[in-house]
Symmetry: C2
Subunit: 345 residues, 2 copies
């Protein structure tokens, strides 16, 4: 099967909103008036970002999900994507399942495949995704940038810090798949779903447009991604230890409860998962304290759980506080210190 | 060096036209009113699309050039691109040269790097490029698609067929590098420049917007890419053998002239290069016979040589005609038959 047959068979799908979709030299989009175009690109490589034998349906979903998560982080409505797919061989059963996973998620989010490139080589998936945000700011202009998009740079001292859903479970599943730890079967299934079937928080991101002051997605770990917000906002953060620990769903739902989890793995390990684990694709965001009702409303509107975990402070870095507001000693990052898709060995 | 340091050091460049460039979850573009956004993506893989030891400066240029060539084919003005770069290792000398090649060409075309992803793995470069075209058709609406972009589908019976520059020389250089043929040193240098430093015909594409009826870039070979126009226009073509042969610059400039080239390689081989060779990144286009002056003007305005090579006819397929208009027997495609970036062994 040549490239053109392959595209025709597996990757040609109606594109009612694009002016021109797959099949010409370029795809053509007609941007809506009053919008900015949000663009993000992410690569997944076999053996690095996923195991070669991963379920191709889940892989198709995840390849798009990690890109949609970047759109969610800036509050954009997904519109289209292009797919650069490098395949070691033409395996029609694999391709059918991969394409189904991809298109199922694409349809859920109204995101059209409008172009791509198919090449032969080591299994690699690069998706570039497009979305739209209003081009006028809801509140003030952030650092001279006038846009209705959520940026990383807008956090202010005193803002609350929030994270959506649960974090750390994907990293836990990865360690179990690597044979570093053992999880009970039902726990492993739930954790693995977090790793292999992340749900991009697109609805929450859009609902937060006029609410959050800054936002990023949690792809490299909560500490790292909150760190991006803080770095670009030139501020620090104080996080509540007690608010962080319940974010690890695996620990909450562990047979025997959190105490049993901690007895098996240690509470520091749970904290390491929450702060250092990657691949969750939740949103971490900041909002003025006056926006607490609006945050609750955005969470409800998007049917997405949200937890307040701390406060933006002057200075830099992330401090962990106990229930009395006392600073805890810095957490040893363990093997999470090195989490970086690029330098990860 | 981690991913973020690497991006900061080699791939951060001013982006005066983007609303947000490298460094946030998404890049943001502000589309101009009255435009369509043209998008194309292309992957280059080491060992398939280029030799692993290729000059990194030339590779940086080519990775962007092949994408700009797609914009040229639809008449778009380049605006921005994102880069997904997979590297086996961090080699700073290599990265510096690669980035310089990339940014030199980007600056020439006013095309900003606005985002990307850097991962570790087998050397792979995927660029997604963005450009703008007017959103209103110059002439009539083609197949119900209202756009000012050049499409593959607009050719009409009786239209002239043109190709820009020279074609076949890149394929000749590839065969020499593969050890299949031997070329004199000066000839090889010129042919190799065509393979490794293609010049995307951006200015010509833009000049052809209100002139050409259909256009494609010559990336897979003249026969294949003209074939795309014909297939989408549901028509055939008659090409003049005598107009095709001089398109191979290597043959024209061969020591002793075309006759000496043909004596060494055979005239059929020259024709195979012209019709079947890939990687030229010229434009093949059609235009009404009433537009001959306008085509000449577009060529002059963009300082790009253009050759009229035949006529669009009813039916399908590509016929080769001799000087008397007699149909020549079909050319044996030789080893060019299999040219397909995907299925190429």
């Amino acid at each position: 099967m040549g490239e053109f047959d392959l595209i025709r068979r597996f990757f040609t799908w109606p594109t009612p909103r694009a002016v021109v979709g797959v099949g010409d030299d370029c795809a053509l989009l007609a941007p809506n008036i009053g919008t900015h175009l949000a663009i993000s690109t992410d690569t997944l490589i076999s053996g690095r970002h996923f195991f070669a034998d991963v379920d191709p349906y889940a892989l198709g979903q995840k390849a798009l999900a990690v890109n949609l998560s970047d759109l969610a982080a800036c509050g954009a409505r997904p519109s289209a994507f292009v797919l650069a797919l490098t395949l070691p061989e033409v395996n029609t059963a694999w391709l059918e399942a991969f394409a189904k996973g991809l298109f199922d998620l694409a349809q859920t989010h109204g995101c059209e495949l409008i172009g791509g490139d198919t090449t032969r080589g080591p299994l690699t998936i690069t998706i570039t995704v497009f979305g739209e945000v209003p081009n006028t700011p809801a509140g003030g202009v952030t650092h001279g940038i006038a846009t209705g998009a959520l940026l990383r740079s807008g956090a202010l001292v005193g803002d609350d810090i929030y994270v959506s859903g649960s974090v750390g479970d994907a990293a836990l599943a990865l360690r179990a798949l690597q044979g570093k730890i053992t999880l009970p079967v039902s726990v492993m299934a739930a954790a693995r779903a977090r790793l292999e079937r992340p749900e991009p928080r697109v609805a929450l991101g859009m609902a937060l447009r006029e609410v959050a002051s800054a936002c990023a997605d949690v792809s490299d770990g909560l500490r790292g991604d909150l760190g991006h917000i803080l770095e670009r906002s030139q501020l620090g953060a104080a996080l509540q230890w007690d608010a962080l620990m319940p974010l690890l769903a695996t620990r909450q739902n562990y047979p025997g409860g959190a105490l049993a989890f901690d007895a098996s793995f240690g509470s520091d390990f749970a904290a390491q998962c929450v702060l250092g684990g990657g691949d969750d694709y939740e949103l971490v965001f900041t909002a003025a304290q006056t926006k607490r009702m609006a945050v609750t409303h955005a969470a409800k509107q998007s049917a997405t759980p949200v937890t307040r975990i701390g406060t933006v402070v002057s200075g830099h870095g992330i401090a962990l506080l106990d229930t009395n507001g006392k600073t805890l000693p810095p957490l040893d990052a363990g093997d999470f210190a090195a989490f970086d898709h690029f330098s990860l060995g």
